[in-house]
Amino acid sequence: MKLSIIDYGAGNIQSLIFAFRRLGIEPVVTDNPEIITQSDRVIFPGVGEAGSAMHKIREHNLENVIPSLKQPVLGICLGMQLMCAHSKEGDTSGLGIFDTDVLKFDTGLKVPQIGWNTIEGLQSPLFKGIKEGSYMYLVHSYYVPENTFAIAKTTYGVSYASALHKNNFYGTQFHPEKSGDAGALILENFLKID
């Protein structure tokens, strides 16, 4: 299986490489549209600020490549948020794959949310073998409200979408590569999705 990790200068890519190596896959780290398009699976990582990350996506000429991909694509953390229509962070227009906004936590709780929280309402082959209420590692200040694409929910002052799915596109707000054995199983499930 050919798996590409999109490298546009915004992500903890080394941890992802190791996570897939532990599953027996050697990922290709690339910003080359041709290689990305021809992969069997694509990972769209992201950490940092939405506006500058979108800027980097445009610099790498990937803003049209990513939404037109046909194979299973997994956006992680900021990657998932950038797959949405718009983020309040830096008033940033996203890739528009998921027609939803990204909002800032405003509930009086600590921001960023850092640590392990549960995922509930799991409904996707991505979560095969994952128990309701499993703990995942999250680090974020902005969130995707509940919407029709939600395949997992998490509560942090507000109940929000912690995973999304539409057609061949998947997104997780949490970091499966940092979420212990349960997270590793989610990555393994992603490799098996048809």
Partner: protein, 251 residues
């Protein structure tokens, strides 16, 4: 519900764990990777590696260690100790660290925090603060708590938050090593006035101390070294105790 985090801290010198560790079944007690794997298996929520070696060539050794930890461990970890530039941080993050912590360098040049937050994102910038009570005031100290500054803890904490820190790791020099409990009064004040998470450090000696720092001290996470290294408090036992005390933990 977001859980309270239990964070073992590993002191590293020249790529090796210091403080004698006598884990049964651990082939090499000084191997930080083996120890990290073990903590991860036992249910640690995060790990902190603090590099205390003083040599110049340490940066390369530390980056290699980070790489090997990331290779084996599937929970988040922070690396700190002597980090003073965006270049240092870039090397460690590329090697696989999730977060870095800065301490003395941020006091000497506070703009460093802005630079790191802007370049790498607040989520990976932990500012470690060592402080000690002097004449009724919490005073920030440098060089592992040896050198006093003229900066007051709460002023500094607010400043680092404003400059873009994602988290604060507060160590009370008065409590560190005493095993008499965390500095909960100061922690509670910090946690209430800040909107970013606070990690409590210094003073852990019993399971009750962890409970107290989460309830009285309002800490978001608690860090300890020796009670974990010497197996005085096994992590699974600590976590089931905390759960019984109605503190939300990941089990």
């Amino acid at each position: 519900m977001l859980t309270k985090r239990i964070i073992p801290c590993l002191d590293i010198k020249d790529g090796r764990t210091v403080k004698g560790v006598n884990f049964k079944g651990l082939m090499d007690a000084g191997d930080p990777v083996a120890l990290a794997e073990r903590y991860a298996r036992e249910g640690a929520d995060e790990l902190v590696f603090l590099d205390i070696s003083a040599t110049e060539e340490k940066r390369k050794t530390l980056a290699e260690l980070v790489y090997h930890v990331a290779e084996k461990v599937n929970i988040p970890f922070t690396v700190g100790g002597g980090i003073s530039s965006a270049e240092d941080v870039g090397i460690l993050l590329r090697a696989g660290a999730d977060k870095i912590s800065v301490n003395s360098a941020a006091v000497k040049r506070p703009e460093l925090i802005n630079e790191l937050a802007q370049k790498f994102g607040s989520q990976c910038v932990v500012v470690a603060i060592d402080a000690k009570m002097i004449d009724g005031q919490w005073i920030v100290h440098l060089v592992g708590g040896k050198v006093p500054t003229e900066i007051e803890l709460f002023d500094w904490a607010l400043e680092v938050q404003d400059r873009g820190a994602g988290e604060i790791l507060f160590t009370s020099m008065d409590h560190d090593g005493t095993k008499n409990g965390f500095a909960n009064e100061a922690l509670s004040r910090l946690s209430t006035m800040l909107h970013i998470p606070v990690i409590a450090s210094g003073g852990a000696g019993s399971k009750e101390h962890f409970k107290d720092t989460f309830t009285v001290g309002k800490a978001d996470a608690a860090l300890a070294a020796s009670v974990f290294h010497y197996r005085e408090i096994p992590i699974p036992e600590l976590k089931s105790y905390l759960q019984k005390e109605n503190i939300s933990v990941r089990l």
